[in-house]
Every structure is written in C-alpha cells, then in structure tokens.
Symmetry: C2
Subunit: 393 residues, 2 copies
C-alpha cells in the first residue's frame, strides 16, 4: 500500500484485552481474562418475548430510522432509574449510545485536541486509554489507593499541567482493581474539577453489581455545575451483545454529544432500544440483577477462598464489594506478562497488570475476572494458576 494514513494511526493499537481474548477463546482454556458476564444467566426468554412483542406490535417502526438522541420511552425509563438512585435526571438528560465504550470515543472527539491531557486513575480501563490515544492526547495518571484517586497527587498534577482537559474515572468497582471511591474522595474530585474547569467522564458499567455494603452516590448526583458526563451500560446488567448504553448529562453537553453521535453512526438501533424498553416494561430488571449479584457474589467468594489456598505467600489482592474483577499483586520478581506463555500452556488466562497503566507500570500485578467462569472452572483454573505462580519463586 502506498496510501498515507493520519498521524494518529501511529498511536492507535488494537486492544490488548481483545487480542488476549482471541488467544484465550479456545474452549479448553479456563479464562479469567475478559470482563464478560455469565451467559447462563442472560434473560434469554424474556428478551425473546420482548423482541417478539416489538416486532409483532410495532415492527415497521422498530426497523425504521429513529431519532439520534434515542427512543423516548426508554430514555424516560432510564432517567426514572437514575432518579430512584438520587440523581436529578429526566429524558432530556439521556442520550442512547452503542455501549458505554462509544461514550469514550465521543468524549475524545468533543474534548481532546492533540497534546491535551486526560486525567485518569493509574491503573485504569485499558481500552479507554486506547480510545483517548486515538485523539493524540497524553495522560496525567493519578496515584490511587483503596479509596480512589489520592487527592493531593491530583491537585499537584492539575496545578502543574494546564493542558489537563478531561477527567476520566470509574468510581465504583473500578476496572481493573475492583476498588470503590469513598464519599470524601468523590466530593474532593468534584471540587477540584470545578476549580480547574474540567469536565468529568464518570464511567459506571458495574455500579449495580453490588454484593455487599451500601451504595455511594454517583458523581453526577452530587454535581451542581453540570460538568459531569455519566456513562451507563446495559452490557453488564442485561446483555453486552445488544451493544446498548447511555450518557446522562446536562442538555447543553448532551446536545454536543448528540451531534457527535449523529456524525459517527446516526443513532443507536431503533429495534434494540424498543426491545430493551419492552423488556423493562414487562420484566423486573432489579430482580434479574439480584439473581446476577447472588451468582457473582458466590463466584467472587469462591475465587477468593481458592486463591487464599493456592496463591504464593506474600501475594495480596483486592476484596471488591461488587463488579467483575479482582486485582492481584504478586511477590516482586514475578513478571505477569513474561510468564503468559507458561500460563496459557496450563490452559488458564488472565490480563497482565501492566496493560492498565498509563503512568508508572508494574510487572507483578494481574487482573482476574470472576463472573464468567463456572464454579468448577474457578477451582481448577485458580489451582493451575497458583501452581505456575508458585513455580516462579
């Protein structure tokens, strides 16, 4: 090819997670790598009934173009769910998108010029880094602990970096660590964002997957300035295969996101939106989420207990109150990326921790998903993994 590409393509890379998933998709591998929900609890029959009803009663509308901002009754239902959580929200605050991943891309398009900096947790969701990178930005990774970003580090770095342009955070059951920000840190972040005039992109795909403890308010619930763009998703609570998520923001910000969404792919699927709307109308999503949470809680607990037995002494890991992931720190000297071939040879898989760092990387961390493997596979997979890890010492 003698074709010339845009400069940004030099910075674009295929998602390590997605590539690892290809490697580990072999059915004989017990994979803790992806962030996939358990397919055996998808409400398949309820979705089938919803599709049937939509196509039987409103087929021509469902298969036709629809408005760019989304299907109004669904936007109303999502807004009502947010109000129940304590967020001021109406349908005018909701824009439907193709899974929350699309929110990252639209935010990059609206906020990032080349050389701008995205403020993010270190570590953070690796595919967000890839998406933002395609807008030729840099990163301002902030140190974190069990309560979220360390505010002193955030303040120091914001003061020193006028090119900071956007703050990206996953405050609840963070990817990859599973940690949840404390209320105090949430308030502190909002205050600093306001002082520096920075929009916050609040990614919350896992918030409803809570297995213990009390819910904390979303950043957008406490935002008085309209600077928070909240990203929600049906991927983890209903189905990722339908590719449906939403943004919740002020009408002014949302109008800009709608323009960007139009240019990107016109609109989310009319049919999928009507199907989900009908599913919500005829079923109890909360009851389905409670079932999901009971399953994931027991898988988390099982994984934690087997790790206690099988993992090397001097390893430690997070004990997340929800979400899909555990974050493991191994004894110094074990390089989780370097030993992947041995790990895959034992027919087990995880994502090496270095993938998730925009700033200071580590070699001895890894992310484990506990939602997607069944109980027997969790026991066997963690046993195999423990063996490989202990052999490294």
């Amino acid at each position: 090819m003698d074709i010339r590409f845009a400069k940004r393509t030099e910075l674009m890379n295929s998602s390590v997670v997605r590539e690892t998933l290809k490697l580990t998709a072999r059915p004989d591998i017990i994979s803790f790598a992806g962030g996939m929900p358990a397919p055996e609890v998808f409400p398949v029959e309820a979705m089938r009934a919803a599709s049937d009803k939509v196509l039987t009663t409103a087929g021509p509308t469902a298969l036709q173009y629809g408005p760019s901002d989304g299907y109004f009754p669904l936007r109303e239902k999502i807004a009502a769910r947010h109000r129940r959580e304590g967020m001021a929200c109406g349908p005018e605050n909701i824009l439907m998108i193709n899974g929350s991943q699309q929110g990252l891309d639209l935010a990059g398009k609206l906020f990032l010029d080349p050389g701008d900096l995205v403020v993010c947790e270190d570590p953070t969701y690796t595919a967000a880094l890839s998406t933002f990178r395609s807008y030729e930005c840099g990163f301002l990774p902030i140190d974190t602990d069990d309560d979220g970003m360390i505010l002193e580090d955030l303040e120091k770095k914001l003061a020193a970096n006028p090119r900071a342009k956007l703050i990206y955070v996953i405050p609840t059951f963070q990817n990859p660590t599973g940690r949840t920000w404390s209320l105090e840190r949430r308030k502190g972040l909002l205050a600093l964002a306001e002082r520096y005039g920075l929009p916050i992109l609040e990614d919350n795909p896992y918030g409803e997957l809570r297995y213990e403890g009390e819910s904390l308010p979303a950043l957008r619930s406490m935002d008085t300035r309209g600077n928070v763009v909240y990203m929600g998703s049906f991927s983890k609570i209903l189905s990722p295969g339908i590719r449906l998520g939403w943004l919740a923001a002020s009408p002014e910000l949302l109008a800009m996101f709608e323009t960007a969404k139009q240019g990107t792919d016109l609109q989310a699927s009319t049919y999928i939106q009507m199907m989900v709307d009908t599913y919500l109308e005829d079923n109890d999503l909360d009851a389905d989420i409670r079932k999901l949470n009971a399953l994931y809680r027991s898988r988390r607990d099982l994984m934690l207990s087997v790790m206690e037995r099988e993992f090397p002494k001097d390893s430690h890991w997070t004990h997340p109150h929800g979400g899909l992931f555990l974050w493991v720190t191994l004894p110094e000297g074990i390089d989780t990326a370097a030993i992947m071939p041995q790990v895959v040879e034992r027919k087990v898989a995880y994502i090496p921790g270095h993938t998730f760092f925009a700033g200071g990387s580590t070699t001895n961390t890894l992310r484990l998903n506990f939602s997607n493997a069944n109980e027997a596979h969790i026991v066997e997979g963690i046993r195999r993994l423990g063996q490989v890890l202990r052999e490294q010492l």
Copy 2:
C-alpha cells in the same frame, strides 16, 4: 459551562437532514425530505422469526460479546454476495459496522489529519461532509455531470492540491442526484487514484435498488491495488433500524479499520448480526429486494409523471435508474432554502440543494425522496409543492 472543548467542535454541526427530519416528522406533513425506505415492505415477520430462532437456539451466544471484526457466518454470506457480483471477496475482506455511516467516521479517523483534503463529488451526501469536517479537513469538490465526476476537473485539482488524502464517491444512484457513474469514468477515477496514491471510499448503500438498466461493476471489483474501501449497508435493502453495514477491503486496510472500530465501540451487535445471518439463511433477500424495487420503481415513475404536470416550466430533474432520490433544478431565482417556511406551511417538505455542496453552491436545487411516501401522498404532495413553486415565478 466553563468547559473547554476540542477545536474540531467549532466545525461540527448537526446534520441539516436530520434536523429537517425532526421538523417534518409531524404526521400531517407529506415529507420527501428523508432518505427512508418504505416501512410497509420491511420483512417484519421474517425478522421476527429470525430473532426467535437465534434466541431460542443460541441465546447466550447472541447476547454475549463477540469478535470485533464481526460474526463469521454473516461475513461469509456477504462475501459470497459480492463474489456473485464479480468482486473478489472472502470473509477476510469484510468488517461489520453500525451502518455505512460508521464507515465514514472510521475512514476520517484513519486517513485525515487537520488540513487534509477530501476529494468528493459536488454535490454529495451531506452527512459525509459533516463527519469528515469533524476531522478538521477541507474538501476538494469535483464538478459532476450525468456520468459522474468530470475527470479533467479531478485531474487538474489533484495535480494542484498535494493535501488531497482521500477520495469519497457514491458511484451508483448517487445521493443527492440519483446519478450513476459510467464505466469509463469509474476506470478513469481508479487510474487517477492510483497515480496519486489516494485511497477511495466507495459508498454503495443504494446499488441493489435498480429499477432499470444494467448493473455496473463496483470500483472495488476493478481495483487491482487494494486501495478501495467499499461500504455496504443493510439499511436500504433490509432495515435501517437495525444499524448494520459492512466494509469490504484488503485485509491490511481492514485490520486498521478493525482497530479503529474496537476503540470506537468494540464491535457491532452480536445479536443483530446473528439475526441478519439467520434471516439470510432462511429467506431470499433477492426476492425481497425485487419486491422493494417494484414498489420504488412505481413510486419514482408516479412522482416523475406528477412533476411533469405540476412543476414550473423550465424546471428539470434527473431520471435515476435506481436509488431513492430525484434531483431537481428550478428556474433561476427560486431560492429553495428561503421558501422552506412556505413549503412546510403547505405541509410538504424536501431538502434544499445547497446542503449537499462542499464547493460551489446553488440556490435553485432540491432533493426529493420517492421511496417513503405512498402513492396518494406522492400525488398530493407534489401537487402542493408545484403550487408553491409556481407562485415564486
């Protein structure tokens, strides 16, 4: 808001077409504005059966994440359709996207740096201009006649503009004019693109909607260098509400598009892809397209004959062999944008022609869609429109 946005947002505008659609969505308006298929011929029952089968036999797979490049059996079926048309194509040449609109955005991301120029027909699809503009490019609009781009004008402008980076064309039943490029012009474009090392983005959403005449080969069928990226869509032949389209290109180019697709929204809906695959397996899409074509042909002919009677003398218009649009040139002095309030007051609508020009605009042209209004509405709407237009003289 004290938030700072990216520079490109100054160039981003909401699609005039989509905004006009909002205005004209009132049920009492006879709209020839949109490019919507006729919902009454959507294969609703066949789609319902396909959804039912997918969810009954493979529900958990359909509702789960899937590969970024798309559902393999569907990619195979699309490739087979292309081979039948004479295009060398296998599943390795197909990437599934959310309608061909997404192909425009991904192409912008891969090819365009600020200040680069997109070579396009003048006039052309207005939402393509909006999408490319969000990549801070300029345009090199090429004069056109009934056979496509005028190659002398193209050659002159390519020679004079080294920032030309991408060629965007709709060679068959062009939007907005309905015109189809001759074979000679197609070959000439390929030769010039090769000489200047420019990729061609070939947009073909309407190609199968042919009401008379013989099919002409797609540019990608004649491309020996792998520089053509073909965009296909189910929107006009099956359903736009499912938001499904595809790219056909060399594996090298497609790998770059896949990376961009991953970053944008991970993948097209697994469920929608499996549903369409099942629809194709169990139904005869070609038979459905023949029905569609019979309907659209008669609507085109009806609109043309009523225009003959109702439109002002000295108006003229295209006689497209397929697609969805007629392009009308009115007597000088009628400003099709300025009279829109009077037009909408008569409860009828079109898209003013100036919208479609990146270069030299016109004030006396307009685009009419003939696929979406029924026969009675075509007669009545064109009568009303003729009245308003004749009053301008």
